[in-house]
């Protein structure tokens, strides 16, 4: 994205103020300016703290309690064995321990999150990169290909889940009818069979992710200096070598972005499984487990928060890597 300020000729006023620079460092901002700056920052910062970071921190605190959402919290330890679970009591790290040892959906959810990540990293993202590279070679009809491949990114994931149910429907869907497995005797239950449904949903997710990555990567490819590529080609490198030795390394910032987007999107996966079957029976994901424990009558708020904290800790790894790359390394440059 370029704009023309840099190339504009200096205005008359600018030419008339040659000593502006020295005066600038002395009194850069008036008091009024400082107040305005603070006012401009105040609302967004307060909103960010109040609605994003505050809740994130409070979640950590809540994870140490046994709470159904009714009444208040207190620091007394939980008492066992009554007709009703003890409510609002302090339970320390018990919630984490219970989630890891005594909650059947937990480890499957972790496993599914990892599978989701692996599929994104090894299949969806490379596919998107491949499309981008292919399109960048200048095929005819480029715009059409881009438009088509990017289309799923525009649709909400809930919508994607609903559309794909027509493909996967056991009795009437496209796949089963075409391959002849749509009678009651030989049904393939793509979305109901726990050994199949995660992969079925991953196809849907990759359908979207590939387009997203493609667009990012295309933009990065456009920014690569064509002279470098030409030079390499003149030196006798074939297309494959040009890509890996010249193009790919010069796209480091974009590669980082794509890597982070891949990881974050896979941790964020929620809508698709939730709309398919609420994240149960083979489609467990940490995000769905949190929701199922907190939203709705189940009301194990402390327990759900503990799972949320696990998700937070996992998410902080790529987030920190991204922030480090984007800000700290850049500031140092």
């Amino acid at each position: 994205m370029t704009h023309d300020v840099a190339s504009r000729a200096p205005s008359r006023r600018e030419r008339q103020a040659p000593t502006g620079r020295r005066r600038r460092s002395a009194a850069r901002f008036s008091r009024r300016d400082i107040l305005v700056a603070v006012a401009m920052l105040a609302i967004p910062v307060l909103a960010d703290i109040a609605f994003i970071w505050g809740p994130a921190v409070v979640s950590i605190g809540l994870s140490l309690f046994n709470w159904s959402g009714i009444g208040g919290l207190h620091l007394r330890s939980c008492i066992a064995g009554g007709l009703f679970p003890d409510n609002g009591c302090f339970t320390g790290v018990q919630n984490y321990y219970q989630a890891a040892t005594n909650y059947p959906p937990f480890w499957p959810a972790v496993e599914h999150n990892l599978i989701w990540l692996a599929v994104f990293v090894f299949i969806a993202t490379p596919l998107g990169m491949f499309f981008a590279v292919l399109i960048d070679t200048g095929l005819r009809g480029n715009r059409v290909y881009q438009t088509v491949l990017f289309l799923p990114v525009m649709l909400s994931l809930a919508l994607i889940g609903i559309i794909w149910e027509f493909i996967y429907s056991p009795n009437y869907g496209l796949i089963n009818t075409v391959i002849g497995h749509n009678t009651n005797a030989n049904l393939i239950d793509w979305l109901g069979d726990p050994s199949l449904n995660l992969w079925a949903v991953l196809v849907e997710a990759s359908w979207r992710q590939a387009g997203y990555v493609m667009v990012l990567y295309l933009a990065g490819l456009k920014a690569v200096d064509p002279n470098l590529k030409e030079a390499a080609r003149i030196d006798g490198a074939n297309a494959w070598q040009v890509f890996w030795r010249v193009t790919f390394p010069s796209m480091m910032p974009m590669n980082i972005v794509v890597a982070v987007v891949t990881v974050i999107e896979s941790l964020r996966a929620f809508d698709l499984v939730y709309i398919t079957n609420k994240g149960t029976n083979g489609l467990e994901l940490l995000s769905a487990l949190v929701t199922n424990n907190i939203v709705g009558e189940t009301s194990r708020i402390g327990f759900g928060s503990a799972i949320g904290v696990v998700l937070l800790v996992i998410a902080l790894v790529p987030i920190s890597a991204f922030l480090y790359q984007m800000f700290v390394r850049r500031e140092a440059r």
Binding site: N66, S68, G69, I70, G71, C78, I79, A80, G81, G82, L83, F84, P85, D86, N87, Q98, N102, Y103, P104, P105, P170, N184, L187, D189, L191, G192, D193, P194, N277, T280, N281, N292, N293, V295, G296, E297, T298, S299, R300
Partner: protein
């Protein structure tokens, strides 16, 4: 009972709910002398109007309802209209979508609840009562107690022995079949487990699916767990198990799963991906011989799909253990509670006193073709064949459970449902003891 996937009405709750509350605050002042009195069900001169001069009859209440499907909504409206006439209290109905209401119940009851709200009997009601979110209504039951049996009364009490709930209807879980199929193939209604196994084998060899079955929403299978437990181990044990006073590692529970494993080969496969509406369709189209579900669901589905109810019939689950015969079933009971934060409790109690009568239940059931009245000896001229049969089926029961997800803590019900799902997929005998151990330790984690 989560009637989850059936039609959810999208009509939104009226903002008049809030206006109603404001009206209540401004309109009704409650002199101390009125507190305990309930000069109610005689019709007052004010009819249904809210022009009451702040006296003993009249006043306005708001009624929170999750009867959002079209038919229950209509039935509820009829009940409210009759209640207005009978008590002189003006009632504004605040309808919320069925599932959302249940999901938000804790924040609802702690925030600004209406003066009355729809809910269910069982542990789920007792829990809120124990947390102080519901107001006791012993004074209401002093008036209406005579209308109900002891079994019903105990279901309306909290754990502390006080009353918190007034019922409106219930419905049984039974095994449905098409009369024509049975006549054609010469089947007879089984009275014992062995008879039913023979029947199932015969159906299978005749090319029918013996049991239509769907478990995508996960709660339908819980019904089968309940009935097997009730038949094999009796009512007391079942309730103890639900209330965390018996352990899931008990041999009684092993018996339940072993018995279930015998039945599984005759149940419709692919249940995990099928919604119960589609299983009901399999019964309708006579591809299946039987289906175990609530009348509230199967009969309703027949009507929705335009099939005549005249061919539909049911029988209670057969005897397994002669000690308990067919004495107990799941018959979930819906009704109303008085939130502790209700603003106009006196008028609300007047309405509850009306609702706890056979006449009120009949006015509701006039538009409800599948549930049945709870009051003893209620006369409901609009009953269809299924409803009449339901009343007869429940007449001689010794005890009635509320269905697993209403009888136990919701996270425990979820844990049980998840275990059952994997059991159905893989009913190997070797997996039963580990499953029980997992359930027991989850119960410990949930109940504390």
């Amino acid at each position: 009972m989560k009637r989850a996937s059936s039609s959810e009405d999208l009509q939104f709750s009226r903002r008049s709910a809030l206006k109603g509350l404001a009206a209540v605050a401004g309109l009704v002042t409650v002199p101390g002398a009125l507190a305990a009195c309930s000069s109610s069900s005689t019709s007052s001169a004010a009819g249904g109007g809210s022009s009451a001069s702040g006296g003993t009859s009249g006043g306005t209440i708001s009624f929170g309802s999750n009867y959002s499907d079209p038919a229950p909504k209509q039935a509820f409206a009829a009940l409210v209209a009759n209640a207005k006439k009978a008590t002189g209290v003006n009632i504004t109905v605040n309808t919320v979508d069925h599932n959302t209401f249940q999901n938000d119940i804790t924040s609802y009851l702690q925030g600004t609840p209406n003066d009355l709200a729809t809910w269910f009997a069982g542990y789920r009601m007792q829990y809120f009562a124990a947390q102080g979110l519901l107001a006791p209504i012993d004074d209401v039951w002093d008036k209406i107690g005579g209308n109900f049996s002891d079994a019903v009364k105990s279901l309306c009490k909290g754990a502390d022995g006080h009353y918190y709930f007034v019922p409106i209807y219930n419905y049984p879980w039974v095994i449905f079949y098409n009369k024509s199929t049975f006549t054609q193939k010469g089947y007879t209604v089984p009275a014992t487990w062995d008879d039913m196994m023979t029947l199932a084998k015969q159906m299978k060899s005749d090319g029918l699916i013996p049991f239509a079955f769907a478990d995508k929403d996960q709660w339908p299978a819980l019904g089968m767990f309940d009935i097997l437990d009730l038949r094999i181990n009796g009512f007391d044990y079942h309730i103890k198990l639900m209330h965390n006073q018996a352990s899931y590692t008990d041999p009684q529970v092993t018996d339940v799963f072993n018995q279930w494993a015998e039945l599984l080969p005759y149940m419709q496969s692919g249940a995990a991906g099928r919604i119960w509406e589609d299983a009901a369709k399999t019964l309708e189209s006579k591809q299946a011989g039987m289906m175990f579900q609530g009348t509230n669901q199967v009969a309703a589905q027949y009507v929705t799909d335009g099939k005549s109810l005249s061919d539909l019939d049911f029988f209670p689950w057969p005897t397994i253990n002669p000690t308990y015969g067919q004495d107990y079933i799941d018959a979930p009971m819906d009704g109303f509670v008085l939130p502790a934060k209700a603003k106009n409790k006196d008028a609300a109690k007047q309405v509850l006193e009306y609702i706890g009568t056979g006449a009120a239940e009949a006015s509701y059931l006039k538009y409800d073709q599948w549930d049945v009245a709870v009051a003893t000896g209620a006369q409901v001229p609009t009953y269809n064949s299924i409803q009449t049969a339901s009343v007869q089926a429940m007449a001689n029961l010794k005890g009635v459970a509320q269905f697993g997800d209403r009888d136990t803590a919701p996270p425990m019900a979820t844990a049980l449902e998840t275990s059952i799902l994997s059991f159905i997929a893989n009913p190997a005998a070797s997996g039963i003891k580990p499953m029980q151990a997992s359930l027991a330790s989850q119960a410990k984690s949930i109940f504390g």
